[in-house]
Symmetry: C2
Amino acid sequence: MPSLRVALCQLDLTVGALDDNVDAIAAAHARAEAAGADVALFPELAISGYPPEDLLLKPGFVEDQTEALERLATRIEGHCVAVVGWVEGARHLGADPHDRHDGPWNAAAVLHGGRLVGSYRKQALPNYAVFDEQRYFDAGDGAQPFFSIAGVTCAVTVCEDVWVDDGPAAHACASGAQIVLNVNASPFHSGKQEVRESMLRRRVAECGAPIAYVNLVSGQDDLVFDGGSVVLDADGSIVSRLPRFVEAETVVDVAVADGTGLPSRTVIEVTDAPAARPDAPPVTVDEVLDGPAEVWEALVLGVRDYTRKNGFREVTLGLSGGVDSALVAAIAADALGPAAVHAVLMPSRYSSDHSVSDAEQLSINLGIDARTIPIEAAHHAFLDMLAPSFEGLDEDLTEENLQSRIRGVTLMALSNKFGWLVLTTGNKSETAVGYSTLYGDTAGGLAVIKDVPKLLVYELCRWRNRRDGAPVIPESILTKPPSAELRPDQHDQQSLPPYEVLDPLIEAYVDGDLTSEELIAAGHDPELVVRIASLVDLAEYKRRQSPPGIRISQKAFGRDRRLPITNRYRPKRPMDPGGAS
Amino acid sequence: MPSLRVALCQLDLTVGALDDNVDAIAAAHARAEAAGADVALFPELAISGYPPEDLLLKPGFVEDQTEALERLATRIEGHCVAVVGWVEGARHLGADPHDRHDGPWNAAAVLHGGRLVGSYRKQALPNYAVFDEQRYFDAGDGAQPFFSIAGVTCAVTVCEDVWVDDGPAAHACASGAQIVLNVNASPFHSGKQEVRESMLRRRVAECGAPIAYVNLVSGQDDLVFDGGSVVLDADGSIVSRLPRFVEAETVVDVAVADGTGLPSRTVIEVTDAPAARPDAPPVTVDEVLDGPAEVWEALVLGVRDYTRKNGFREVTLGLSGGVDSALVAAIAADALGPAAVHAVLMPSRYSSDHSVSDAEQLSINLGIDARTIPIEAAHHAFLDMLAPSFEGLDEDLTEENLQSRIRGVTLMALSNKFGWLVLTTGNKSETAVGYSTLYGDTAGGLAVIKDVPKLLVYELCRWRNRRDGAPVIPESILTKPPSAELRPDQHDQQSLPPYEVLDPLIEAYVDGDLTSEELIAAGHDPELVVRIASLVDLAEYKRRQSPPGIRISQKAFGRDRRLPITNRYRPKRPMDPGGAS
């Protein structure tokens, strides 16, 4: 049975870093060449990084990216072909967007012998969820050529192309392709690897041919690309799986069926089979992470890449003694090393002793820097400044928000002075219902756990405490009732239902896009549904001004969920009259 | 020559306010019926408001919207047909977005006799600039039926359909339509009415038939829909033009050519011509606003609708004595009435006497409420709190930002206590280069002049001073050098080039999407280009957390310009080596 030696090059590339990306690709290609690979696969849009977003609307950027690809091509020498995601062609938008030329295309360049041998244009352009590819790209057609590599007829495809039933992959194999090479920038959500491999098994069954699937690994703003590159043979078995959330490379000999007569499409002849191959290295089949371990690694990669790719080395955060900031501190320590994490305790007149001692103990356990800056002086000053305006009025949320904002100002001052990135600590449950202070605890550069519901916050902390056999997060942080400590004897559950009730409701309303009527019909408490749904809707203006957060679900707040701020569609009970909206 | 009596119903509708929108449409239809109209045209997506964004991903919302349309239909009685934008059909996204049914469509319902007679599905779905319609809608096909209204064969079209050369409008007229009815939600940018009418004249020439064009009028988050509904007769003359930025209605008798044989498409017979019509009211042909007058009205509508539709009645802002806050105060006073505007003077140890007196004089001229809250107490408190951390370090931007953030906290406290919306006062030039303090002067709900470059800020102030013959903005505010007053003797031009140089550079880099190399090739100073382009790129994280601003240009910061924060594509001079990116 003939075979193709495929190198999967799962690189961490950076949006806009054209030359660094080219260097990384060329180096990995040289390693694949040394290992006797026939073809090395690189991620989708590897030259520009993914997603480049509106950089693609700058014709000059697309041109620079094209020149970078041309420079890369001159470095692809030897037997091994490189398949590299790039932007092919430029769209030249004039003043009138209706006057459009064709292209550009989200494409995969086939490089060999120091030149661009051909390019495949992605046919299926996702324009849902976090994707906006129809904003930028034209779709390739369904009759594009195959590439003969080491004598094997290869169908090159890009990402979404293989997700479509009866789509580009199936059509290619029905037209005589012996293997599908698929280059990806496939973002993470919890459980994604199982979804991905289940889809690939279905596709292999449909195609009757093996699929080699390479994915990007990268944190890019709110998105994490999780790697997990795999090769499936023609019977759907995983013959190689790379680890996730880290750069990795492997070389796999993939068995292909004998070519059955002439393919019914044009074939670009690239290389013949080598006379002999060096021994293949042992095959990698990494275990699939799941549950809290998977989410933990995603958050760690998200923090590390956002911090470093944006030119920061160190981070700061407010440590309240509560569970959310404890989790963020632990993730940051894993991502950047404890020496790079600067915790700030900012007790107020309402802070409890145990908050301070718990935060101190956590800092010691993690080995991070910690300092204490009491906020009383500024708290007192603001109350004085505002006294003439507030005379005769009761205290309310205003005074609570004030304390949170003083902490935000303090962290930002440290950030400005020392160049530390501020990490915010709000979880998805709080972010959903707006249980946060805009410009207060939401102030910072990265909202690490913005997509992590409160119950999962606890689960991640317990998982982290079990991981090394040495609990770093003090047990008292995990057992005391959650509180913002912005007034005497405050507890979350005075304002919110228990998280065991709240989290499933948020998941159904936000992630599931159900209406309040549908939630009530599903058995949720009507009063609670209307109250929580209203809170979620009304907090849209806060979310719009909050920093990006790392996406771990299938619907994170951010580019995944684009709701208007001005929105008078209101949650209602089924029996509400239709007259008022 | 036969004619059709068309009512243009240019309403201010609200996203999500299904019942209010239905009531407004039914009332306007009743007025059109009373005026003897054969057909009344309402804006695109009139039932849901435009753009509903991800509300469209909630099947329950689309269903509620459908029921609202059905309730409207029962209220459309008499001779006059109603053409109303709506969402037809539901997309039922399951867990797997690849498993999609057809629809929904961005459609125009044709209502008569208490029922839905037919529906036209938009063919051209814009997915560029501020538009994401391919995220939500499937496209209609090109062979949809015509509607015979008062015996005239009418082609219904939706917005973008008429912008396409050799597109749906031309095809319809070539197939026998006698008139094109076009319902729109067409957002404003400066000079938009001329662009719109020039396009419509081109379309009429291509079609050889009249076009009746109705537009939404509305402020919706960052977008303003400016009305300016028009009817062009078959020779391209404007026979009616409604005013812009306000709700308006008119009835026009539009001459149509005799039907030339049978149309080559299905025709749905709706109504016959009436035996007699009441006299038509006088025709409205409003003047086209342009220059500062047009921008002013857009900003006023944007402020008024954002404030009221989000449930606020009053606003607050910091009045520095500078030109930006003076302009915002004047716009707010026009939009909401002076009694609804609460100015706050927040002098620091670095504020000049003239700043305070200029701000006071402005408040008196505008008749707005003003109070003074010196920030010294909080300023002093923060410097004390931070002293142990900052010991031995020089003062820098940290201390400047601190003052700005204290002001932000103060305004937010007033907002929280009194329910006032905070207006921010940063202009487009500052927003572009990041000459602002995140959580400081950027803190607020609406960034009124975020899309107004500094030179236009001055022009608008001067225009406003001329408008009523009584200058409300003190001349000294317009003549003194701009300063943030965050350190002694500070002036903008210590950090930035003169705005006469900066503004054109920003326009070319941001609005024009040129690269630094292209700007240098066009003759801009190389050092300056690299410095300013770098500032613009690096300020992306600030803009991402700033409030929405009212779009007046063809590329505003916001949904118009979606750049990654993590972005290592760097401005470079043409002679830069390619090695470092």
